[in-house]
Amino acid sequence: MPNPPPGLSERQFRNALTQLEEIVGREWVFHTDEDVALYRDAYSPLWGEDEERHASAAVAPTSVEEVQDIVRVANEFQLPLYPISTGRNLTYGGSAPVYSGSVVLDLKRMNRILEVSERDKTCLVEPGVSYFDMYRYLRQNNIRLWVDTADPGWGGLIGNALDRGGGYTGTDFRDHFDAHCGMEVVLPTGEVVRTGMGANEDATTWQLFKYGMGPWVDGIFSQSNFGVVTKMGFWLMEEPEVAKQVSITVPRREDAIALVDILHSLMCDTTIPSQTSVSSPVMNGSNDPELVRLRSSGGASDAEWNAYAQSVGRPFWSAGFVLYGAEKVVDSQWEHIRDRMSGIAGVQFNETVTHRFPLTDDEVEAAPNKARFGIPSLNLFGSRNAPGQQPSEGHLDFSPMIRPRGEELIALYDLTGKIYADYGLTPSPAIGMMFHARTMICFHPVPTFRNAADNQRTRALFETLVTSCGERGWNIYRIHAHFQELGMSLFDFNDHALHRLHERLKDSIDPRGVISAGRYNIWPRHLREDDA
């Protein structure tokens, strides 16, 4: 049996577990070493080291009433709980708690789709519902709505939204927290609240109007530890008549400036409705020595890069996106986009595929970019890509945000390419993703391993990336649990006034400090170094 949570004796811990078993049944309280090990972070950058975070036990309820009872037991024993939804937040900490010794509150068994309204284009779900589950329900019932999915389809609608994850489809849907409408939360005291219109028991618009009346509090339950979210409503996208997937290439490195400016404009005026990715077929090419030299240089000139691009016969940048809607509208949008881009010398336009909906089962299976059409999959997971090659073991996501400007995209990858090279690693692929029209999120995978020596280098690389980019104003939007203190430390206006506000909220809402201690560096008073 694992060690009890810090501050609890073995006897207190056993008594607490006995009470939890009375709530959910013995089968659903996990406390053997073997079962608790399944709550480790499979991609932990601390795998097998003393500092790796471990749970002490896990408890898996099936109802909001059971969650309330569990929270009350946690208050009685000051038992730290760590809620997870589907528990698949890999690259950001998985199902392992931030505060080692916490009891994981595993909500996977709360997996009911409570409502889907085809007419209102909304749903209401519990935390264990995955993107696969929702897609299947819609397809099975011939409901012509899409759920915007995270890359891995086993992720949960609620968990991904609360960690502020994103997807690929329409503007109102791919920011998953922004796409929610109304939530139910078990507060750390055990009280249940509903937000927005849900606070009025007679309201017919809980999943339609976000704000209700008075302060809108939903935001404090994301990337935080102020409660256990047990229900959330989401807006679903109406299935379009067609979806035209296209790409635009430009030949020179400096063309990124005009390309991104025009894309930004076309997204702001809603001509382009989807997530737009700008990647470099040149920089993301094979590891030949000249490419490695250029990427590691920290600032090779446009002339050097353009000569290299010419030598490998590839356009420097490629932008990909999807147009959704009625076919004649989509065709007009595409014509307008080509007109806007036509001033860039050497620009080329490519129509990848046009889908008509609904798709047949074979078309669903064959679609290579499923998430862009609301189809969950696991296809993004890495595999060996050559005979004999060692597969990767995991990765962290370092995704700084920049302004939507080509020159900033170039400068970012100059900087990070050199940092990766300084640590002896191949630089990250270059890709700027416009989940929002007004920022680019630039994905950098940082590999993790099952050995301490390699992970030590990984952590040093990750920390250097965070601080170096932070110094240039390129902050991250989401971060692995181990680095949340570092990530939050960059938000330091007025001597970290925002962090102090978070702590004051924590002390008020969770006075016993039982929910997700340390998540996004928000610690309860009894665990804060300055107050301990």
């Binding site: 659903w28 996990f30 073997e34 079962d35 090990a37 399944l38 709550y39 480790r40 499979a42 991609y43 896990a58 898996a60 528990g87 698949r88 890999l90 998985g94 199902s95 595993d106 996977k108 068994r109 997996n111 009911r112 789709i113 264990g128 995955s130 696969f132 589950d133 897609y135 299947r136 329900y137 397809r139 099975q140 389809g153 086993w154 089962d361 669903v364 299976e365 290579p368 189809i375 999959s377 696991l378 296809n379 997971f381 890495g382 595999s383 060996r384 890509n385 050559a386 005979p387 004999g388 090659q389 597969p391 990767s392 073991e393 995991g394």
Partner: protein
Amino acid sequence: MRWSVLLVVFGLSMPVTAQDDTMPIAAWSRTAAIEESAGSLAERGRAVYNNWCDACHRNANQNAPGTRSLQFKYRGELPAALEEREDLTPELVEFYIRNGIATMPFYRKTEISDADLAAISAYLASD
């Protein structure tokens, strides 16, 4: 040979249309909670497999990362698709589900219970 299973979808039992074994299962029909008493152990195992394993280990799917990875690993010496393997023992299946390998994570018991795990083993060991 025909087969049928019962899946419990969000509390509602619904029959899945009987299909030939050779007929691929549509991508959308994967994933659902599996009723404990549905069919034989191997039949239930197939439903559990489709729910949790098929998205990565799908037969003959060039996009399935698990199948693709095993193609490179075995170079034709063993089938890349798990459903075509004849050497998978329950111990081996349990090891990978509970320990993971490379980017494949391990599965918690709220995802794949011990009973589900036994069913997957029975399915993969069956003809």
